[in-house]
């Protein structure tokens, strides 16, 4: 955020200071608006936060409380922390978590490498046909991915790749158009002097990319890694179609795993499982917020 503030103020360096003091003089009129702003914010926080609180409440309640209706859950005298243990053991949580982690790492590392390489080429190298290729990158960002998954699945099934991690390896190697775009934007901003010096020293393009550009691109690399990691971590359709039920990701396992013998969901275990499943993402997000936000910013402004 501070980064953004700096950017906008540096663009209008002479205007920033006097205007800010002027704003202070308009206070009386904005008092009423301020009240509305605070009311709106509190209401919005309630709306956006309630599902999180409620899932925690359900995860800590007994089956009896659940059948007594919503208000019985607010009796906090008998918190069922054991639900988390049950959710952990009812399905092979560790096993599914390992698969999820492995797939997310495979995809995010490969796609970050491949996308940064392509993004570097689009930003720093020149070749005939480059413009056309970049237009294809932008156009493929618009291709509906979920619709694409079905024919891809049919082909992968024919090739015998269902139940293996190969689809994620291949998708990773192919790079992600959105991330290629992100890297291209990032590499375009790096001053020219750096690579000129390297070229004079006789460094090859791959060394320039690896030793000069990648170390400078740490924020972009982190953004790309975090985004692709959370995509894969939370993805449901691809593992549901391409992996077997006993070796799938947490997405599929928590969605279908906590059932009683009658085949209906065990609500409190689903809630506990969901909490354990989303907690890593929330924690990761809280520590790395600015990278998530930075990527959203880049996509919107330049799109």
């Amino acid at each position: 955020m501070t980064q953004l503030a700096e950017r906008s103020s540096s663009r209008h360096p002479d205007a920033a200071i006097p205007l800010r003091s002027k704003r202070r003089n308009v206070r009386p009129r904005s008092d009423r608006t301020a009240a509305w702003v605070y009311i709106s914010i509190i209401v919005s926080i309630a709306i956006f936060g309630v599902p999180f609180l409620y899932v925690l409440l359900v995860a800590l309640s007994t089956p009896a409380q659940l059948s007594d209706g919503a208000f019985a859950l607010f009796n906090l005298s008998n918190l069922q922390w054991s639900n988390f243990y049950l959710a952990f053991t009812r399905i092979d949580f560790i096993g599914f978590a390992r698969t999820t982690l492995l797939l997310s790492l495979i995809f995010s590392v490969l796609t970050t490498a491949s996308s940064s390489l392509a993004g570097f080429a689009f930003a720093r190298l020149r070749a005939p046909g480059q413009r056309l290729l970049f237009n294809i990158v932008v156009a493929t960002m618009m291709i509906p991915a979920i619709a694409m998954l079905i024919p891809t699945y049919v082909i992968f099934a024919r090739l015998g790749l269902v139940g293996t991690y190969w689809p994620w390896v291949l998708w990773g190697l192919a790079g992600t158009p959105y991330l290629i775009f992100l890297f291209r934007q990032f590499f375009s901003t790096i001053p020219l002097e750096l690579e000129e010096a390297a070229i004079i020293d006789g460094a090859g393009w791959f060394r320039i990319y690896l030793q000069i550009f990648l170390p400078l691109a740490r924020p972009a690399l982190l953004t790309s890694f975090l985004l692709s990691f959370t995509w894969t971590w939370g993805d449901y359709l691809a593992p549901a179609l391409l992996l077997n039920a006993d070796n799938t990701t947490l997405s599929v396992a928590t969605a279908a795993g906590y059932l009683n013998p009658q085949g209906t969901g065990i609500v409190e275990l689903q809630a506990a499982g969901a909490v354990m499943f989303l907690l890593p993402v929330v924690v990761l997000f809280l520590f790395t917020q600015k990278y998530f936000i930075g990527s959203a910013v880049g996509s919107g402004v330049k799109g």
Partner: protein, 322 residues
């Protein structure tokens, strides 16, 4: 961006200096982008082409006894497939409701968070987190809210004497789906927020000095200035909502993708219908035809929006933007 004028010079520096393959920057370029090119050919073009071929067959996904049936799948889709058309209309209704509300809601939250607030980062995170957490977790959380017996919504409504409602069945499943989708509008908020912070303050201040109200400043200055960003959100939002399939499946608590027929009719969107044709009915030919109609519809909508944007979107001429 800025590099386009400068980099050829650097590339030229190499052509005169380098030895071996380095003499050819074009070859270097193609080496660097080759993983993506291969991926694009094999993982995008091949599946699309495959779907096109399959759409002219009666392939069922398993048996080897299939043959070309010409345009029969398309004819069936356009003439005698009411459920597909109903799902398409439903999807359009869903998109028309969800996209403007998401963009407007995201902008509203962005305006709120753009002010000087205590704990602004925390507030922003609360609005943003729903859009980054796994979709399965989202679905489970909302299934709890909408749960018949233990659900918060029925609990609150019972205070007002409203009878227990099964929210995730017909006819309410459609509205439940919309609520769940709108919960994730924080992604748009972040984009709008960045755009708001790029609006030059002197423009707003000038309008204020001329006596414009908050709303007038918003309507006449801020929204036109950030319209490219709102337009971008609309396009990506439309493409995303037209292909929604996971939320209806998970809200209906289907156990596998193949049980898509368990999804209530009112939340059976077009792509749910497609999944149904593929994985429940095993009609790969017909399903592929549905996919291709969908691809063409997306393309047409994107082109129409592109054309409209030339009239309504204000593109700022800026030194560092194309």
């Amino acid at each position: 961006m800025t590099s386009s004028a400068l980099t050829p010079a650097a590339a030229a520096g190499v052509t005169t200096r380098g030895r071996g393959w380095r003499r050819y920057p074009a070859r270097t370029f193609y080496t660097f982008v080759s993983p993506w090119i291969l991926g694009f050919l094999l993982l995008t073009l091949v599946p699309i082409g495959f779907a096109l071929v399959v759409s002219f067959t009666n392939y069922d996904g398993a048996s080897s006894f299939w043959r070309f049936v010409g345009f029969r799948n398309y004819v069936e889709l356009f003439t005698s497939s009411p459920s597909a058309w109903q799902s398409l209309l439903r999807t359009l209704a869903y998109t028309i409701i969800v996209v403007p509300l998401s963009v407007a809601g995201g902008l509203f939250l962005a305006v709120l968070v753009n002010r000087r607030l205590r704990a602004r980062g925390v507030v922003r995170a609360i609005f943003f987190i729903p859009s980054v957490i796994p979709i399965v977790a989202t679905a489970i959380m909302w299934r709890l809210i909408f749960n018949r017996d233990a659900g918060l919504l029925n609990g609150v409504l019972s205070v007002f004497g409203v009878r227990e409602t099964i929210w995730l069945a017909d006819p309410y499943a459609f509205y439940a789906l919309i609520v769940v989708t709108l919960w994730g509008l924080g992604g748009g908020m972040v984009i709008s927020l960045a755009a708001l912070q790029d609006v030059p303050t002197e423009l707003e201040e000038a309008a204020r000095l001329d006596g414009a109200s908050t709303w007038q400043v918003m309507r006449a200055v801020v929204i036109p200035m950030i319209s490219p960003v709102l337009y971008f959100q609309m396009i990506t939002g439309i493409i995303a909502s037209l292909q929604v399939v996971v939320q209806p499946l998970l809200l209906a608590q289907t156990r596998t993708v193949a049980s898509s027929q368990e999804v209530p009719t009112s939340s059976t969107l077009y792509m749910v219908e497609v999944y149904n044709e593929f994985f429940f009915e095993s009609r790969f030919g017909f399903g592929s035809a549905m996919l291709w109609v969908f691809f063409i519809a997306i393309l047409a909508i994107t082109l129409i929006l592109q054309w409209l944007s030339r009239r309504f979107v204000f593109y700022q001429v800026d030194s560092d933007q194309k």
